[in-house]
Amino acid sequence: MNPILEFLTRKKGHKRLGLSDVLSYIYLLLGVVIMFGPVLWLLLSSFKTPLEIAKFPPRLFPYRQETVAVEGYEEELPLFITTLEDGSTRELAQVRRVGLVAQMIDPLDPETIIKVPIDQREPIEKISFDLENYITGASRFNFGRYLFNSVVVTIAATLLTLLINSMAAFALSKYKFKGRQTIFLTMISTLMVPISVVLVPIFLVVTRVGLNNSLLGIIIPVAATPTGVFLLRQYMLTIPNELMDSARIDGASEWRIFSQIILPLSKPALATLTIFSIMWRWNDFLWPLIVNSHSELFTLQVGLASFQGELNIQWNLILAMTVLTLLPITIVFAFLQRYITTGIATTGLK
């Protein structure tokens, strides 16, 4: 075997990489390109100028034409590599363009104007991660407001979900009371009926209660998640009842048993529900879209959707705002990814 290949495929324990290992790594690397490439492409594109955005075929990196400040001109002038009549090339700045002829000057000698046919020059470009799209976009896209709404909704709804779901799960798993089975089965039967199927009646109810056009309208109606109750109940069933009995003998109230014994023991399931709830609420789209029609109540997702409709494919701004929208959850994920992926894998289903 080729010694270089042998070196590259060497593995701990002196066993070489087999064919299936190589195939596995190829599959995974391809997976990285497919799963992460589109997001990376979005990020790179979000720095491009409108001119660069319209270019076909597109280039990987965001290029920007170099400019130079010249005495006597208010704005910076774009730089070109220009081929002159005698065949020599010079770095010149363009003053203006008249038809097929460009008037160029040497930045060091701004007095003499050199006339050059436009096909005799190439723009000088550099890779530039300019924040222009973000700044212009942010002036028309109320990012701060939408972010605030999204954060408030996500945190409030998640806290509310954790509290009421765990209370209900506690009652359904640790007590025998009249109606328990009925309540549990009713909740489970709606587990998979999506909100989108009963949109009209839910909207009617929310309007009647007066929660439309308020952030509470996105927080409260979705808080009683059947999935959460189910997940927590299944977990609490595994906690031995003897713990509760001995606490009762010590004179603890039922609320104290719930908050100081059951809740701390349910941490893994609560953590999983927290992750789920944050994902659900952060990415909710349809419900916030219907409940709130005032733009100051938009969440990031609704804001982004309406921004896209408003601007009608001004891609450079849309891309920049899309990056801003996915940034917060990406940062959270980057820090907590190990807990999130293992949490979903271990308790997500059982």
Binding site: A171, V193, N283, L286, L319, I344, A345, L349
Partner: protein
């Protein structure tokens, strides 16, 4: 747990102090409540907040949906809607043949049903196939497994709007994919303009956006298979493919069943991604059931709440069947 920093101890102590004081204060309130209603009453207290919100915002609307489905007119308020019996359902089923949507009064409904069936079959198969392969690969002795696992899961975190915009940007006429294709010497493809291509990409994008979740579930299923089974099999000379078909496959079956039913349920409900990605187009090529319901109830000028509700009841029926089979699959998994 090792305590590396002194500050950590401080944070832990103050967090404990805060939770303790919250518990003490709430216990003062709810402890006296217990004296009032007795231990027997406490489970009702615990279940009440969740039950109230559930009842008002989920159960009651589900029941109201029946009222809408059996009443007519254009009024939004149930008490102003005349009872029409099964007229809304009859309208949906008014067809020469339900296999040919253009012979139906509500041709859009049947078009969306056909589209949804097509979507569900291909999306679920691809999803299950790719999550299974990915999970098997990730279950091998792989370096950077945590990293790869996170990368495959990452798209699940993105909202439907973000997913749609990312892929629109790649697939548009002057997009990255067409750029690569033309640089290879072919001409551009009308990815989002041609009906067949649009259907294809809706499936691919929705698989891309959610396969990480199912990969994690299958991976957990694979890791719960005891390693000594493989050791024993290997002593008996069963390796590789044989071990896979005789050990992995049968032991993974319950997990796969849950994954299949779960992804079926989610596929039938497909809406937000296509709404933002293709808007149901071109024409009605990617109009799916939930969007049909949404269009009829919310965005069409003459709001046909009755027809929308009838359609959603039919769909809920399908979902209940799928859910029940999922619960059965779960039970099978535990026993």
């Amino acid at each position: 747990m090792k305590k590396t920093f002194k500050t950590r101890g401080f944070f832990e102590r103050s967090a404990k102090w805060i939770t303790n004081s919250i518990v003490s204060v709430t216990d003062l309130v709810f402890g006296s409540l217990q004296k009032l209603i007795g231990v027997k009453g406490m489970p009702y207290f615990f279940v009440m907040p969740n039950l109230l919100i559930f009842g008002i915002f989920i159960l009651y609307p589900v029941l109201l949906n029946f009222v809408y489905a059996f009443t007519g007119g254009t009024s939004f308020f149930p008490d102003q809607r005349p009872f029409v019996g099964t007229a809304n359902f009859d309208r949906l089923f008014a067809c020469d043949s339900i296999l040919q949507p253009n012979t139906c009064t509500e041709d859009l409904f049947w078009r969306s049903v056909h589209n949804t069936i097509f979507f569900v079959i291909f999306q679920v198969s691809l999803m299950v196939l790719f999550s299974l392969i990915t999970a098997i690969v990730l279950n091998r002795k792989i370096k950077f497994r945590g990293f790869f696992r996170s990368v495959f899961f990452y798209p699940c975190l993105l909202s439907p709007i973000v997913v749609a915009l990312i892929w629109k940007w790649i697939l548009q006429d002057n997009g990255l994919l067409n750029g690569i294709i033309t640089s290879l010497g072919y001409s551009r493809f009308p990815f989002l303009v041609n009906a067949t291509w649009a259907r294809f990409w809706v499936i691919i994008v929705s698989v891309w956006a959610s396969m990480g979740f199912y990969t994690l579930i299958i991976l957990a299923g694979l890791q719960s298979i005891p390693a000594d089974l493989y050791e024993a099999a290997s002593m008996d000379g069963a390796n590789g493919w044989k071990a896979f078909t005789k050990i992995t496959f049968p032991l993974l079956m319950p997990t796969m069943l849950v994954v299949i039913v779960l992804s079926l349920i989610r596929a039938v409900q497909v809406f937000e991604i296509t709404y933002a990605f293709t808007g149901g187009g071109p024409g009605t090529a990617t109009l799916y059931l939930v969007q049909f319901i949404y269009n009829y109830g919310f965005s069409s000028p003459n709001k046909q709440y009755g027809v929308a509700a009838a359609a959603s009841l039919l769909m809920a029926g399908v979902l209940v069947v799928l859910t029940l089979s999922q619960l059965a699959a779960r039970r099978e998994e535990t026993y």
